[in-house]
């Protein structure tokens, strides 16, 4: 083993050095944009569908019962199995969107549904007696009480969507993705690239998470006057 330990463990200095150059390389931002848009698209689709179906399930027990087995399956099947199975039907390009969706959907759906069930029954009765419109009940009763459930679902699932999305790219190797970079780094035993990309993924993921949660909270605050 002439290559020695340098291969397995690069020094932080080397990773830092690599980080200062990597973002100037041709195609860096395209690569980041490729993975970002696809993973985030999966996240948003799951967010919208999760909230929508949770509200429907909250009102119609049949829908909840019908969806239950799907949610359980999505929750318990290992991501790797999903990635490999999905590769049979989906092109590698769309894979990370789908996998990110699969990670996020059950978390958003179950949390929001739980929030929905948690809404104060006495307040729901009051709103009914006063004949409050559907829109205003949503703004004053449902959204404020479901909000913490939704925020916690988002903060848990955002990181997961990135981890699973990148894993899908490493297995599917779509051209021009971060996953492809990681895969190449592994094949060419280029450890400093591997670590540099990992740092970049973490940075984007954390930045996006903070930004998104901030905007979400701002959105809720702006929704209706206290």
């Amino acid at each position: 083993m002439l290559l020695g330990q340098k291969l397995l463990l690069v020094s932080p200095i080397e990773v830092l050095k690599r980080l200062t150059t990597i973002w100037m390389e041709a195609g860096f931002w395209d690569t980041v944009a490729f993975s970002f848009t696809r993973i985030v698209l999966g996240f948003f689709l799951a967010l919208i569908l999760g909230i929508l179906l949770a509200f429907i399930s909250g009102r119609l027990r049949v829908v909840e019962v019908l969806l239950w087995p799907f949610v359980i399956v999505i929750k318990s099947v290992p991501v790797a199995s999903f990635i490999i199975i999905s590769l049979i039907w989906l092109s590698a390009k769309e894979l990370s969107t789908f996998i990110s969706f699969l990670m996020v959907f059950p978390i958003v759906y179950t949390n929001v549904l739980q929030g929905f069930k948690n809404v104060d029954k006495k307040l729901i009765e009051a709103v009914k007696v006063f004949g409050v419109s559907w829109r205003r009940s949503l703004l004053y009763v449902y959204i404020p009480q479901i909000k913490p459930f939704l925020i916690s679902a988002c903060s848990v699932s955002l990181g997961m969507s990135w981890k699973a999305g990148i894993a899908a790219e490493v297995i599917g190797i779509p051209q021009g993705s971060i996953g492809e970079m990681l895969y190449d780094a592994k094949v060419y035993l280029n450890t400093s690239d591997l670590f540099a990309w990992t740092v970049i993924i973490v940075l984007i993921s954390v930045l996006f998470e903070k930004m998104f949660l901030l905007l979400l909270k701002k959105y809720f605050e702006g929704l209706v006057k206290v």
């Binding site: 006495k122 007696v129 006063f130 409050v132 419109s133 205003r136 209706v224 006057k225 206290v226």
Partner: protein, 193 residues
């Protein structure tokens, strides 16, 4: 407007009979006070009248669609202000300045726009009174609507309701005989089953 009439209403929870053949008439446009010992079924009766609970047997007639209520618990949206809580039930039909004016009448001028979770029990009680009055239902269901208020504030609140809900059917549950005198109208004593 019609009288509200209940005919032989019965309601049990499990083995416990709460209402048994309860028959009464609540005159349209008049006040009817209801007194009775704790647990005798007063709130249950209101719940049936408001359509929140179903009677096991018997009939209810004459309850209009547009009703207002003060519940035994406050049932406020705690993170919203008094003004917003009232806006929720009135919509834009009532101006914010009008809501503020009403809250001031009951001495709530200093806490119009802070979340109601920070208000005292007696203050919340006045907020829900104003909410019921400004919602302007054809019937007012009041379930111990003046509890937790000192004598002066209570008198003020009663006068406020009588003045602003004049000509409406009012069903007022209370444990306070003096209150029934101030409210006027009829008194029904409910018995334990």
């Amino acid at each position: 407007m019609n009288d509200i009439v209940t005919t032989k209403l019965s309601k049990s929870f499990g083995k416990k009979a709460v209402l048994k053949d309860f028959t009464a008439t609540f005159k349209a446009g008049k006040v009817t006070n209801i007194m009775g010992s704790s647990g005798c079924g007063k709130t249950t009766l209101l719940n049936i009248l408001m359509g929140l609970e179903k009677a096991d047997s018997g009939r209810v007639s004459g309850v209009p669609n547009h009703i207002s209520a003060v519940f035994q618990e406050y049932r406020l949206c705690e993170e919203f202000s008094a003004v917003s809580n009232i806006l929720m039930v009135t919509g834009k039909r009532v101006k914010t300045s009008e809501i503020e004016r009403h809250l001031r009448m009951l001495g709530l001028g200093d806490s119009l726009h802070e979340p109601v979770q920070g208000l005292s029990g007696g203050m919340k009680q006045r907020v829900v009174l104003v909410r019921a009055v400004l919602h302007n239902g054809d019937v007012l269901f009041l379930d111990e609507a003046f509890k937790g208020l000192d004598i002066d504030t209570k008198s003020k609140a009663i006068i406020y309701v009588r003045e602003h809900a004049q000509g409406k059917t009012i069903i007022n549950i209370t444990h306070d005989l003096q209150e029934t005198a101030q409210m006027g109208g009829k008194l029904i004593k409910m018995e334990n089953q």
